[in-house]
């Protein structure tokens, strides 16, 4: 294979940077990582052929600095940039800057990113293409000092109807989003959402959308190339969310009938064709209890949960992204894409589910990861890493594949039992509680699942807590095995893990 690409810069960090770097290596492409000063020795930074440090830890001073990333590409002679997800992945300005600098941007055209990135414009485009959208209305833009016209907000909200969601026009991932139950809260929520949106996305424009009760989140993976081919790779259901962020995803969706699946796939392809979509993208829908579905948004990038699609289709989405970016045709025809079995992904986050999912920080003292048939772990960390508040708390993604949904659930639960991360709180036990819940096993999922079933969840099954206490006593030297002469000796010598944290792994780099 002779591609016009030789060297790819990955403009991201964490597990997704690792994922993309691996695909590049498999394709024989040279790799460049960028890293903040805090990530100098991070897993992704060590995997690449070359690493360029692009600034201090805060993303605004490193991973979000377009100039610094372009400069790194120039200095290393990279000819393509893969943005991953998050950070600059959906920045039309970044895609355009790459193109202007003579770099191949692994993603859609800047104009497509812009059109889909402004959620209000995307809604209009989809409605025009005949794709159903959630009822809603745009708000007048905030004044220069960020103030909203209260009377106009109230009037617009009354037209949309309560309960409603305030959403950032340029947002995503739950940031700049507020649920409003009645008129009393709408002004405060709109102002807070606008403030959060301005900070996170650089634009405080917000709009209102009818809040659908107990919908499912079902999305369709689409892929287009520069020759005008568009295919769909089936759906993913991502209804299990906390703070409007997905934590468990699966394919196929337990909710879709063959007819509904076909209709949704056709709508997704129509949406992609309407905007001349090139490269990997996702069309997100809300599916209500009556089987009606509505366009939510289109994500113009690789999705966090792409592994579940890779599992069921057996295809490599990142490899295809690089091929299409290089001007090749899509490597698969629609009739070659045949989903098989069932896949589930669980997002492992550094957070405390019992305390409102607040982020946890600290040093990873010990890390043990699951493996085995049908088990995949996309991880961005190694033991010794410091988890800070600067970045998204996603540590790793566990995904599994099985012949059917029950087998996939059992496989995911078993793998979660084998995931041990000490020193930083994680949601691993919480994920087990989700997968083990009767409602989840029945496939009775909706976006309010967590609030309905797990709002008063507490960690620490009594038997495990007792076992942990006894183990700690053994660890402290209280109990030891019998030695051969019948005398007892200490089982666990003082742990060498405690003193070595920073030095132990940093020293290798």
């Amino acid at each position: 294979m002779t591609l016009p690409l030789r060297k790819v810069l990955v403009a991201n960090r964490g597990e997704i940077a690792v994922r993309v770097l691996r695909a590049c290596r498999e394709m024989g492409l040279a790799t460049v990582a960028v890293a903040s000063e805090a990530d100098r020795h991070a897993r992704h930074a060590r995997l690449a052929d070359e690493t360029v440090v692009i600034g201090p830890a805060p993303p605004l001073e490193s991973y979000l600095r377009i100039e610094a990333i372009l400069d790194a590409a120039r200095r290393t002679g990279a000819d393509a940039v893969h943005p991953g997800y998050g950070f600059l992945a959906e920045s039309a300005a970044f895609a355009a800057a790459c193109r202007d600098a003579g770099l191949v941007f692994v993603g859609p055209a800047p104009a497509t990113i812009r059109a889909m990135g402004e959620k209000t414009a995307a809604r209009r485009a989809m409605a025009a293409a005949g794709v159903p959208v959630v009822p809603g209305a745009e708000l007048p833009a905030p004044s220069a000092d960020g103030e909203l016209d209260a009377a106009a907000v109230r009037a617009t909200a009354a037209r949309v109807g309560y309960p409603l969601l305030v959403k950032a026009a340029f947002g995503g991932g739950g940031k700049g989003m507020r649920l409003v139950g009645d008129e009393r809260d709408v002004i405060g929520a709109a102002a807070a959402a606008a403030r959060e949106a301005r900070k996170a996305f650089g634009d405080g424009a917000v709009y209102l959308e009818r809040y659908l009760e107990r919908p499912r989140h079902v999305e369709v993976q689409v892929f287009g190339d520069t020759r005008g081919n568009v295919v769909q790779l089936g759906e993913r259901e991502c209804s299990i969310q906390r703070r409007h962020q997905k934590i468990v995803e699966e394919s196929p969706s337990p909710a879709l009938t063959p007819t509904l699946r076909t209709r949704m796939a056709e709508a997704a392809v129509a949406a992609a064709r309407a905007v001349g979509y090139v490269n990997a993208g996702t069309v997100e829908f809300l599916l209500d209890a009556s089987g009606e579905f509505y366009f939510l948004e289109m994500n113009t990038r690789l999705q966090v949960e792409h592994p579940v699609t890779e599992w069921v289709t057996g295809l490599d989405l990142v490899r295809a992204q690089l091929l299409v970016a290089a001007g090749e045709a899509l490597p698969w025809r629609q009739d070659e894409i045949v989903p098989r079995g069932h896949a589930i992904e669980c997002r492992l986050y550094a957070e405390e589910p019992a305390h409102g999912f607040r982020p946890s920080v600290g040093r990873v003292l010990l890390l043990a990861e699951p493996s085995g048939p049908g088990v995949r772990l996309d991880s961005g960390i190694v033991a010794g890493d410091e988890i800070t508040m600067h970045y998204d708390p996603l540590l790793a993604k566990l995904s599994v594949h099985g012949p059917d949904r029950a087998a996939a659930i059992a496989r995911a639960l078993t793998a979660l039992c084998d995931y041990a991360l000490l020193g930083v709180g994680t949601n691993a036990e919480y994920l087990q509680a989700i997968l083990d819940h009767p409602a989840f096993r029945q496939g009775a999922t909706h976006t309010g699942f967590i609030e309905e079933h797990l709002s008063d969840w507490k960690p620490g099954r009594p038997q495990d807590e007792d076992d942990a206490l006894v183990a700690a006593a053994v660890h402290a030297g209280l109990v030891g095995p019998k030695s051969e002469d019948g005398e007892s000796r200490t089982a666990a010598p003082p742990s060498p893990w405690s003193g070595l944290g920073r030095f132990r792994l940093r020293g290798l780099a």
Partner: protein, 166 residues
């Protein structure tokens, strides 16, 4: 030898009965067999159940992972003092590291339980910190724009039923 650990749920005591095989956990005997021990890892048989356990220490904390469930046990020495008592009233501290976006209250403000005190931003999400009880603001440590660490004092509140300034 007696050990006490605070699990967050309870204060548990462990006492050795036979050094090679039995401990009393809160008075209940547990048969312990150490099958293998390596740095950070123990293979145990507890009352006949085989368990693989991961462990790591940081200061007074022992982190333990059993079947994907993690516990942070605090070795208890019995002389901890409540910060609330030391401060003369309930102290609201930062539940997570972040940046103070806005402070709603001033010295002397009367607050109800649930009154918003300030907005803290962490991981790009805004969290509203509210008063845990009714009372009068006795001290404001939080400054808008400042960065705080977990546990840093934010606001002190004198409970409504206690005279302020004590």
């Amino acid at each position: 030898m007696l050990l006490q650990f605070n699990t967050g749920n309870r204060l548990a005591s462990l006492e050795v009965v036979q050094r090679d095989g039995c401990v009393l956990l809160d008075g209940r005997p547990v048969a312990v067999e150490v099958l293998d021990a390596a740095p950070g890892r123990l293979e145990l048989r507890l009352d006949g159940r085989r368990r693989r356990v991961w462990l790591a220490d940081t200061g007074a904390l022992t982190h333990v992972c059993v079947d994907g469930r993690t516990f942070s046990l605090v070795r208890h020495t019995g002389d901890e003092e409540s910060e609330d008592v030391a401060a003369g009233g309930p102290r609201v501290t930062a539940p997570l590291p972040g940046k103070i976006v806005k402070v709603h209250v001033q010295l002397g403000h009367a607050v109800e339980a649930g009154t918003p005190l300030l907005i803290l931003e962490a991981m790009k999400m805004e969290t509203e910190i509210v008063a845990p009880l009714a009372g009068v603001v006795q001290a404001v440590h939080a400054i808008a724009g400042a960065t705080v660490a977990m546990g840093d004092p934010l606001v002190d509140i004198a409970p409504a039923d206690a005279p302020p300034g004590v």
